[in-house]
């Protein structure tokens, strides 16, 4: 019988399985979850801020245009 543990390929395979298990564990971990939530919520906040800013820019532009028209009239 061959010593399976001496076979390099089997060794790599085992390492791979270990790494994958650890990877899935990490994906399921609280730290990762919290990290993702932070990133996504940060993205959402940024998006909302950007949307509000765009609204404000548009409003101010409208106001300025109105002002010009009213002064000319």
């Amino acid at each position: 019988m061959k010593n399976v543990f001496k076979n390099q390929k089997v060794g790599f395979f085992a390492l791979g399985v270990l790494a994958a298990t650890a990877g899935v564990k990490f994906l399921k971990s609280d730290t990762f979850h919290k990290g993702c939530v932070k990133v996504v919520s940060g993205g959402m906040k940024l998006r909302n801020e950007a949307a509000a800013e765009v609204s404000k820019i548009r409003e101010d532009a409208q106001d300025e245009l109105f002002d010009k028209d009213a002064d000319n009239a």
Binding site: N48, E49, A51, A52, V54, S55, K56, E59, D60, D63, F66, D67, A70
Partner: protein, 688 residues
């Protein structure tokens, strides 16, 4: 609520309460609340920037500030977003999602991007296969092949940009369709202001909005039933064509169900309200307009058929290029470009946008087909009363004949006429009311002879009221030479109705219906827009008809017509090869409206005329006819111009692609880009 002012001048105030200080619904509620204040001209609120804009009457600045300050942050008014705003928001959201997705894709590693592209393209492949298996060679197959071929030749970015542009076009089409439907439903919404409700204290008129489930409402001849309900008293013939499509009216009696949007053609009903209309049925009618093949403009159906019929030629071009050049890239370029998708997309968008634009002008058009017919028409027929005139006739003279007094004639005429919803009848009743002539109901059940008049029995004698034709010819009431002279002298080119009691002429009522101020201008403008033949039909006597025809510049007029003749007249014009627009408003115009190529009803007219007509003018002004003519002509021009552009531009692309001067990805981008631009342009307003 605390706020800072960011603009404060020229009766305009904009304040900000902080980003996201209120929700979308609250923004809507705030705008609504402020807008309803009497010193406020216009108010809007933006939930993102938390800003409130108010345009106010001069000198009301402090009042506006007080109103905003008094808003309680914990109890802000809320209101459901209007459907149009919801559609806009959804479109903006979907568009943003698509663009963001596309941008994010660029940051993904290549293998994941490829996997996503394959996943996205599977949708198109499945659709193409599905059509192929049903032996259909259509645009879906072409799209699938184009995307599949570029994937197979390893051109991922071309495939994904083609899919992106196709998705964008779909989104744009859906949005236009949605907006048009909403605009239409607002226009077609049942315009019912007041209804008669039976209460323990007697019959009472109340605003329609106050009607509750379980109320008993009285609906008379010619009126639309504005809710679903059960008949509890009365019998009548009800026209259910809006519901079932059958044109014959249905007999309804106690215990039967009636539906919102149907019309009482004859008789009156007391109906117990079961469900109040929530507009859902209206929505159904509108989708019918949208989808029904026979309401589609001919040019639209033609475009859709043409689009699919070109597909095999695109494949032929692909195969030929591949064979002749032996170059797959060049061949795919040909496949990337097709005429059909641009034509198929831009034509319906043009049509529905035009319908929406018409709706914005206060004109409800019930199908693209009618815009096409309106543009093609060369003849217009007006039914005089209510269209060329204000339908607000006045009794200008009352002539009694021997044996009868003036007051008796007016009182009796009013007594008979008050039962019918007709403008002349209303004029008689109004005059009697003005003169304080009240009457008791002394007659038996009245009989309404369409367009002839009214007959009943009064103290055992036959009493009839109606046109000269009805009284002297149909009913053979004798007319002495002396009376004939009086009639000619007193009527003086105006229309007249006659009252006869017990076989004897009792009196004559002279009625004047002033012509609408805009009528002459509208007719001359219509002539300038290619309408060569203007006709008028009227129940008036010859002299009155001749005078009005002369004043308005009308080519052909027919006086003293009967309703049956109206449709006969329209049919005769059609037989002569004319395309006919019929404008009418009364119950008696309906056969003629149905006979015409395209029919127009005035808003102030009877409900049933509005039901039958293809177009309703809600603004109650004839000048909308001119607008509609301009709009429909501009629509046909736009469709044809689009068509010419699409064919020449895409033919150019195919030649360039086959010659190998542009790569498939550029061909796809230019083709889809131009399709988008054409579609986007087709959504813009036709009239300045």
């Amino acid at each position: 609520m605390k706020f800072t002012a960011v603009y404060d001048a020229h009766s305009r105030l904009r304040v900000r309460c902080g980003d996201y200080a209120f929700t979308k619904e609250q923004a809507c509620g705030i705008a609504d609340m402020l807008g309803s204040l009497e010193f406020v001209d216009h108010a809007e609120a933006n939930w993102r920037s938390g800003s409130i804009l108010v345009m106010y009457r001069e000198g009301a600045r402090q009042a506006v500030i007080d109103a905003i300050s008094s808003l309680d942050r914990k109890a802000l008014p809320e209101k459901e977003l209007p459907a149009v705003a919801q559609a806009d928001a959804k479109f903006a959201g979907d568009l943003e999602k698509m663009v963001v997705k596309r941008v994010l894709m660029r940051f993904l590693p290549l293998p994941i991007r490829t996997a996503l592209t394959i996943w996205n393209c599977s949708k198109y492949m499945i659709r193409a296969l599905d059509n192929l298996l049903q032996f259909r060679m259509n645009v879906a197959v072409l799209d699938g092949t184009a995307i599949g071929a570029s994937m197979l030749s390893g051109n991922m970015s071309t495939a994904s940009s083609v899919m992106f542009l196709l998705g964008l076009s779909d989104l744009l089409e859906d949005y236009t369709r949605q907006r048009t439907k909403l605009a239409l439903s607002e226009q077609l919404a049942l315009h019912v202001d007041n209804v008669w409700v039976e209460t323990p204290e007697g019959t009472k008129q109340i605003p329609f909005n106050d009607v509750k489930v379980g109320d008993k409402v009285l609906i008379q001849t010619g009126n639309v039933i504005p809710f679903d309900g059960t008949v509890c008293d009365g019998t009548s013939m009800v026209n259910q064509s809006t519901m079932t499509g059958e044109s014959e009216p249905v007999h309804k009696q106690s215990g039967d169900s009636v539906f919102a949007g149907t019309t009482v053609e004859e008789g009156k009903l007391l109906i117990e309200v079961r469900t109040l209309s929530d507009g859902s049925r209206l929505q159904e009618i509108i989708s019918l307009i949208d989808q029904s093949e026979n309401l589609k403009a001919g040019i639209q159906s033609k475009a859709e058929k043409l689009a699919d019929s070109i597909v095999p030629y695109s494949f032929l071009g692909f195969a030929l290029t591949a064979l002749l050049t032996g170059n797959m890239t060049k061949a795919i370029s040909v496949l990337m470009v097709d005429f059909s998708c641009a034509i198929k997309l831009s034509t319906p968008i043009s049509v529905i946008s035009a319908m929406r634009e018409a709706a914005e002008h206060g004109t409800a058009v019930k199908g693209g087909k009618y815009l096409e017919a309106f543009a093609a028409a060369d003849t217009i027929v007006f039914d005089k009363t209510g269209t060329l005139t204000n339908a607000c006739p006045k009794v200008t003279d009352i002539v009694p004949f021997e044996g009868f007094t003036r007051d008796y004639v007016l009182r009796t005429a009013a007594c008979l006429e008050e039962h019918f919803p007709h403008s002349v009848a209303a004029a008689v009743v109004e005059r009697a009311r003005e003169e304080g002539l009240n009457h008791e109901e002394e007659h038996a059940e009245v009989e309404y002879l369409v367009a002839h008049g009214v007959a009943t029995s009064l103290h055992g004698q036959r009493a009839i009221i109606g046109s000269a034709h009805f009284i002297f010819e149909d009913e053979n009431i004798p007319l002495s030479d002396e009376n004939r002279r009086i009639i000619e002298e007193k009527s003086n080119c105006s229309s007249t109705i006659f009252l006869a009691i017990g076989g004897k002429l009792a009196g004559m009522l002279v009625i004047n219906d002033p012509v609408r101020d805009e009528a002459a201008a509208v007719i001359s403008e219509l002539r300038g827009l290619g309408i060569t033949h203007v006709c008028m039909l009227t129940g008036d006597a010859e002299p009155a008809a001749k005078r009005i025809a002369g004043e308005l510049g009308i080519d052909t007029y027919v006086s003293q017509v009967l309703p049956a003749f109206k449709s006969e007249f329209v049919n005769k014009l059609k037989d002569e090869g004319h395309k006919v627009i019929m404008v009418g408003d009364g119950v008696n115009d309906t056969p003629a409206l149905a006979a015409a190529d395209v029919s127009v009803a005035m808003c102030g007219g009877s409900d049933i005329a509005r039901e039958v007509a293809d177009v309703t003018l809600c603004s109650d002004s004839l000048s909308e006819l001119v607008t509609l003519r301009k709009l429909s002509t501009a629509l046909m021009e736009r469709i044809n111009a689009n068509y010419r552009f699409i064919v020449s531009f895409n033919a150019g692309l195919i030649i360039l692609g086959a010659a190998g001067l542009i790569p498939p990805s550029t061909a796809a981008l230019l083709h889809n880009g131009s399709t988008m631009i054409i579609s986007g342009k087709s959504m813009t307003k036709l009239l300045k």
